[in-house]
């Protein structure tokens, strides 16, 4: 097993590629069975109201309607939530945002179901709406849950900020704002729920975190976990977005299937999806830094308010990552960080690729550039001065024991773009209409869940008598390539080619609860579990091989689909012959792999701890052209550098890096899910603008590999770090071009040109009157409108 890898690090074809390019892959909506009914949700009419009554009698009488359900008819628990259980499958007494479900219909066709929804009569009493998180924290604000809207307060404390500011030569104090962002997965939510033969229910769907969804379904139906089976269909994207919104869809479909005894399919339209699904948190960030003339940072005081929307969802975890990473990878002895989350009547906010880092990275990296300017050095120099090196102690008091490659990624990014030379040239260029600029951003990021929670995963490797292999895992593939990565690891350990492996989509009844596939933990956790499983099988195979050939085990190897004598390279048996022999000897050919993450710790009160078992480092450099007469920004060149530990599959790592940049570019320049008084303004991609291929520049990717013992073959994370740096790099580049800084993203036409956002002052949105219809009508009128 020593020496060069045969499969690890190669751009192996993805195991799911064939199905996807030929159209054979089955997405959730492709599952159709006989007697299937269509389930539909009646959603709230108002962002905040008391439900006085729900009359479903007319809907129930409609021909073709087989069930109408409200909260009252739920046999088990109506509430769910991973951290705080305060989200409802169907609102019972109160609606808290426009996406809340009030009633369900199952009918013979979509059209009948839609018609039935229109016949349900719900009487509401309007309640005051709060749509701004800072307002929500003020005394007297309308309360969303319980007696305070503040439901998270995380801290980090280090040293003494008062002393730090006293030592400072100057301070920089700035306010930043970020926006709601939609995940924009190409496949809207969909499930098929079928009553199972032995009671219970079987659900096939576009679900990211199957085990948490399963728990809620079991509780809603009031049955045990083993009677709920959730099978993941091929996913058309998730980006963190198919968690709670899918849990509630799974519960709803299961309830309707339970009630009717028939399979029930539910599919959201894009508008329903945008209206109901959770978003990335908007943050308001107050940063105050004290620094010396030489650029040393003496104090950082940071206060952040996150808009949690109507439900807790993942906010406690998302904001925890923010509090841990809020100072960036920079030395500072005195730190005081407070991160709050507030309930509002907006879409709830939860997991999205980046998970609390894109917001703080925008602020940190903007501050870094301001600091550079204040002390008269370049953005690269200020980061090289303050950036972490090996053995650094973070703001949370954690000593970094792995290879700290911050400066390596930074200098590579700068070098690839020719950053230093361009930065000076553009800064000094004369003021023409179209100006170029370059910007830099870097970060460190904790791998996997960290002290957030239990961190363990299972992967099973099952070798068949003909030498083919089945792999299944509790870590799910959402298009990011988890299956391919685990297949490569398995193939490497077993000395076989990847095409021998069939990967099963995750089935909650077939593998152990492996936690959620989030936090860029797929490769580290699923991958190590796969390695563990494959090593168990390998040991058995080698033993049998030794018995078969008389060669001692330590002289044997598995390579290129053969059992070989490691010393002579002689092929002793084909992999298929070996597995057949193994079967005939009655030996187990299945390996159950398990991996539990190393210890982490967190002291919530003291705001200290060893937050993550390891970190990754990345740097992005952007070059933009700003049309200063219109505010239009074009990104014309981009460099993305990430230390991934070890690239299991270079093509997939490159794909993650490019996709992350494209998404980050949208975050920095275009995307904004606007909510006014609880009413969202964009419900489809005609108005919610994501970058097109024409907006994404050439992206030069540089993969840095400092192998880390914490991951399989030294591999760490890549999915999320790639998405957190493009926005600050671009905003810094805009500053280099224009000399004007954008403190609120997205840096769209108006913000770049005017320095602030344009807001419409008319009634739209401020009146609650039948907000739901209003938003649906508006969204079609506005497209192509003249504003």
């Amino acid at each position: 097993m020593v020496g060069k890898h045969k499969i690890i690090g190669k751009p192996e074809r993805r195991v799911d590629a064939w199905g996807k390019v030929t159209g054979k892959a089955k997405y959730a909506e492709d599952y159709t069975v006989g007697h299937q009914l269509w389930g539909k949700v009646l959603r709230s009419k108002y962002p905040h109201a008391k439900i006085l009554s729900i009359d479903t009698s007319k809907a129930s009488e409609l021909l073709g309607v087989e069930a109408v359900l409200t909260a009252r008819e739920i046999p088990g628990s109506n509430v769910f939530g991973i951290v705080v259980k305060n989200q409802q499958i169907l609102a019972d007494e109160r609606v808290r945002f426009l996406g809340d479900g009030v009633a369900l219909v199952a009918a013979k066709s979509k059209e009948i179901a839609d018609h039935a929804l229109a016949l349900i009569d719900v009487q509401y009493e309007l309640l005051p709406v709060v749509s701004d998180p800072e307002e929500a924290l003020r005394p007297g604000a309308p309360l969303i849950h319980g007696d305070t809207n503040e439901f998270v307060h995380h801290k980090v404390r280090k040293g003494d900020v008062a002393k730090g500011f006293a030592e400072a030569d100057f301070t920089i104090e700035r306010k930043f704002k970020t926006q709601f962002v939609e995940h924009a997965y190409i496949e809207p939510e969909a499930v098929l729920a079928e009553p199972a033969e032995q009671g219970g229910v079987k659900i096939t769907g576009s679900v990211q975190n199957l085990f948490s969804s399963r728990r809620s379904v079991a509780e809603a139906l009031g049955i045990s976990l083993n009677r709920v089976q959730i099978i993941q269909s091929t996913l058309g994207g998730s980006f963190g977005g198919k968690d709670e919104v899918m849990t509630s869809m799974c519960c709803r479909a299961a309830l309707l299937a339970g009630r009717t005894g028939k399979p029930v399919k539910m599919v959201n339209t894009r508008e329903e999806s945008m209206l109901e699904s959770y978003k990335r948190h908007p943050y308001v960030l107050y940063y105050k830094w004290g620094a010396k003339k030489d650029g040393t940072i003496t104090a950082m005081e940071i206060r952040v308010v996150a808009d949690g929307g109507a439900y807790a969802s993942m906010s406690p975890f998302v904001t925890w990552r923010s509090v841990v990473q809020a100072t960036g990878p920079y030395y500072c002895e005195n730190v005081k960080t407070d991160v709050y989350a507030a309930y509002t009547n907006n879409n709830y906010t939860g997991a999205m690729r980046g998970f609390g880092s894109p917001q703080v990275d925008f602020a940190i990296e903007s501050m870094m550039d301001e600091l550079a300017e204040a002390v008269g050095v370049t953005p690269l120099e200020i980061r090289m001065k303050n950036g972490f090196e090996g053995g650094a102690v973070t703001a949370t008091g954690q000593k970094l024991a792995h290879t700290v490659s911050l400066k390596e990624v930074l200098s590579k990014a700068a070098q690839e773009l020719g950053f230093e030379e361009k930065w000076r040239r553009y800064r000094d260029a004369k003021a023409v209409a179209k100006r170029r600029g370059v910007g830099l951003a870097c970060s460190y990021r904790g791998v996997s869940l960290g002290a957030e929670g239990v961190d363990a995963a299972q992967t099973t490797v099952s070798v068949q008598t003909d030498g083919s292999v089945i792999v299944s895992s509790g870590v799910t593939d959402m298009g990011q390539g988890a299956q391919t990565q685990m297949a490569q690891i398995t193939a490497e350990v077993l000395g076989i080619s990847v095409d021998r492996i069939q990967f099963l989509n995750t089935n909650t009844s077939g593998v152990a609860d492996s936690g959620p596939t989030v936090a860029s933990r797929g490769t580290v956790m699923g991958g190590l579990a796969a390695k563990n499983a494959a090593e168990k099988v390998r040991a058995t195979l080698l033993e049998v091989g030794s018995e078969l050939t008389g060669t001692p085990v330590d002289a044997l190897d598995l390579a290129d689909n053969y059992l070989v004598n490691e010393r002579t390279n002689e092929r002793l048996a084909s992999f298929g012959e070996l597995t057949a022999a193994c079967f005939n000897k009655g030996r187990p050919m299945i390996g159950l792999g398990w991996h539990k993450a190393p210890r982490t710790s967190w002291h919530e009160e003291e705001g200290k701890g060893d937050a993550y078992f390891t970190f990754v480092y990345g740097a992005n450099a952007a070059e933009v052209e700003v049309d200063t007469e219109t505010g239009r920004v074009n990104v014309i060149d981009f460099v993305s550098v990430h230390d991934v530990g070890k690239a299991i599959n270079r093509a997939m790592v490159t794909g993650q890096m490019c996709g992350g940049v494209a998404m980050g570019l949208g975050y920095g320049l275009l995307e904004e899910f606007e909510i006014e008084a609880g009413i969202p303004k964009q419900l489809n991609f005609d108005e919610y603008l994501i970058p097109t291929s024409m907006d994404v520049p050439r992206i030069k990717t540089v993969i840095v590999e400092n192998e880390d013992p914490a991951g399989p073959f030294g591999a760490k994370s890549v999915g999320e770090p790639t998405n957190e740096l493009a926005a600050p790099a671009i905003v810094n580049a805009i500053y280099n071009a224009t000399g004007k800084r954008v403190y609120e993203i997205p840096a769209n036409l108006e913000r770049v040109f005017l320095g602030h956002k344009l807001t419409r002052h008319d009634k739209r949105g401020s009146e609650q009157k039948n907000a739901f219809d209003a938003v649906m009508v508006e969204s079609c009128k506005v497209r192509g409108g003249s504003e």
Binding site: P691, T692, M694, L749, G784
Partner: protein
Amino acid sequence: MRPFEYYSPRTLSEACNLLAEGEPDSKILAGGTDVLVEMRKSSAWSSKAIVDITRIPSLRGIGESGDWIIIKPLTTHTEVLHSDLVRTHAPLLQTAVSTIGSPQIRNRGTVGGNIMNAAACADTVPPLIALDAEIMLKSTSGERVIALSEFFVKPYVTVARRDEILVEVRFPKLPANARSSFVKLGRRNALSIARLSVAAVVCKDEAGVVTDARIVPGAAFPRWQRVPEAEKLLIGQKPSKELLVEGGKKVSEVMISFTGRRWSTEYKEPVIAVLVRRALEACE
């Protein structure tokens, strides 16, 4: 989506009859890139019948007749993009269609649909008005020809009756001494609705003196129109940089005189002036 009747007439007169005598609440379908979007929104869709005109061959194609270019309504944006006639005689129209949607949208969307839909951001309209285009409408009660600049009432509203079919768009070829341009500002590089746009035509004599100027902003005025106040500034002049800047400012002033100061004026006022200046510079 509600149920509806679907008709597919093979001749123009059949189509006219259907519109005159059939279901009164019917909708003409061309490329469908606007109609299908509307249909999905049940709250905004009330039509009970669709009259699909795409199988009427006489409604397709680009041709010339003497000094005129004739574009039939079912001509797609892609066809305009590849037309030598348009390239030679109305290059600004070609620039405009090249910015519409994406290749898929340009392959389906038609010039007729773009005009009849009458969205404030319809990209063919400013260049067509700058080209002094007229359109011909047909119904069972006959044909009428209207100057395109007289056709629009306000966004999404025209003077066409619901039983009228747009059968022809025509405009005089640009003279040999004309330079033309179309400038569009969108939020991204493709699939981007015009935030603002400007079509311009400038003709000069041998001495470089402007003999004719036409400026038509898009997505800026309550209805499309040329801006004679700004055009007059140019006529009889040899354009200097300052003059073009002034032309832009004039358009901006006129815009505000129509729209008043609104929430978006802070942005549109300076930027429309820049776009006009750029459109005029492109005609130099």
